[in-house]
Symmetry: D2
Subunit: 149 residues, 4 copies
């Protein structure tokens, strides 16, 4: 996670697009350990990147419906630093890490929204698919929005 | 749940179709109360009726794909009698309760597979929809399979 | 759902406590029908009643931790009127329907937050349990908060 | 995933413990893309390692209850090769990859049970925690069971 462009960017380079979204831990998301079940952080990552894509003017629901492309997770890695608990306020910071011809990579920092305690850091790479599930080049509107024409 | 046809059926009437499926409680299905989160029983009901439909020779996945109809839950009611816990073996008994022109109703008895303890009784009514989401008459193959031509 | 106290209340009777919470449909909550999987509405109901309890000055997380009581769902019924879709803004209105010595009943109206279209109406009855899982009388602070001392 | 001990083991070295478990894709596990939502593979991994631990004579539910230790996921990585669909039969092969003083690492191969098509490969590292959430050395019974005394 330490190689996120946002951290490394020298001043003259435009900051990588990023977005912040807050949510509250649901009872359904806890497990009998009394903390959030680990798979749910992937759901929060998805909420984070949806927000980032929306921020860039590209509602993802629209992308699927009208442009006819899907972004499917091809790779995911998560590091769990501390546990979220029921009703905790959570902040998800999503940063664009990389854009290639057929893939987009996002970095996530999931923290307690009040204490700022770091809970999970994660990275996912998504591949662009057409309606038949075949990998395709990112549409121009996506590349443009992500500042990589 | 006491009005299930299976319970009431006098000997000369053919028993209502039913199916039994077993599963084991997943960690992901527990919550911080240390028991199965209540919404998950609806997922188990769906596994039960899928099994019943399969038993009747109608794989539901096939129905959606080739026949082009969906069965959407229109009504659900659940009564929680006792709690399932992580790793418990669970038995779901699903019984056909009613078939009408556009709806099918199933009854469920969810119990601990070893002790037989009753955990949840439930009933759901599903409505038959075409691909555009409009309610339609049950296809003949479904009515036939359920013994109500 | 038609017997909700809020609907029936004549003007001189104080309105039943209620709370409104909004959320957005997550990708994870959809299924291959392209709509929200039906069990997820129970999760939203729980978010609604948590908000109502919080509004009354009783954070539920606190109740479990310090007072040592749990509210477990004993009965749930849902009627599905229309489907929510990915990224839809959703409004959950939760109303206190009944308070008895050991149980609390809530009514829910789940609607599309922008169009106001009614999606699901539901009712759940929760039973008060102590840490060993035995039903107990509602603590005074809960009864007071709900206006039934 | 290519460095799994099971793949590399020359004949004279005892094979790493492994376990196979089969399951069927639930409707609730699909999303509107028509395939299994990506976070659910982490749930299947957990089912896989539970089965491996059970195979070694250590029911995990027992470990939590009587020994008072938890195994919490500290790291997870997944690579998605192909998509599982509703009602597909799935096989999860879990292999012990590494045991250290406080951590255990598992490798997973998730495949279509009939065609053998590889769907997801994954690795998780779990850390041993006591009831207060502090990392502790693996209990002897766990180390013994995993063949690393």
């Amino acid at each position: 996670m330490s190689d996120s462009p946002a951290d490394a960017a020298p001043p003259q380079v435009p900051a990588a697009p990023s977005a912040v979204v807050e949510l509250r831990v649901r009872y359904a998301e806890t497990d009998q350990m009394g903390v959030v079940y680990h798979a749910n952080y992937l759901v929060w990552c998805e909420i984070g990147r949806t927000e980032l894509i929306r921020t860039l003017g590209l509602p993802y629901a629209e992308l699927e419906r009208s442009v006819g492309i899907l972004l499917a997770v091809a790779d995911a890695s998560l590091r769990y630093h501390a546990s979220a608990r029921y009703d905790d306020p959570i902040r998800v910071v999503t940063t664009l890490a990389d854009v290639r011809s057929r893939t987009i990579t996002f970095d996530y920092l999931i923290a307690h929204a009040e204490t700022g305690e770091r809970l999970v850091t994660a990275r996912t790479t998504l591949v662009c698919l057409d309606r038949t599930g075949r990998p395709v080049t990112l549409p121009a509107m996506l590349r443009d929005a992500f500042g990589r024409s």
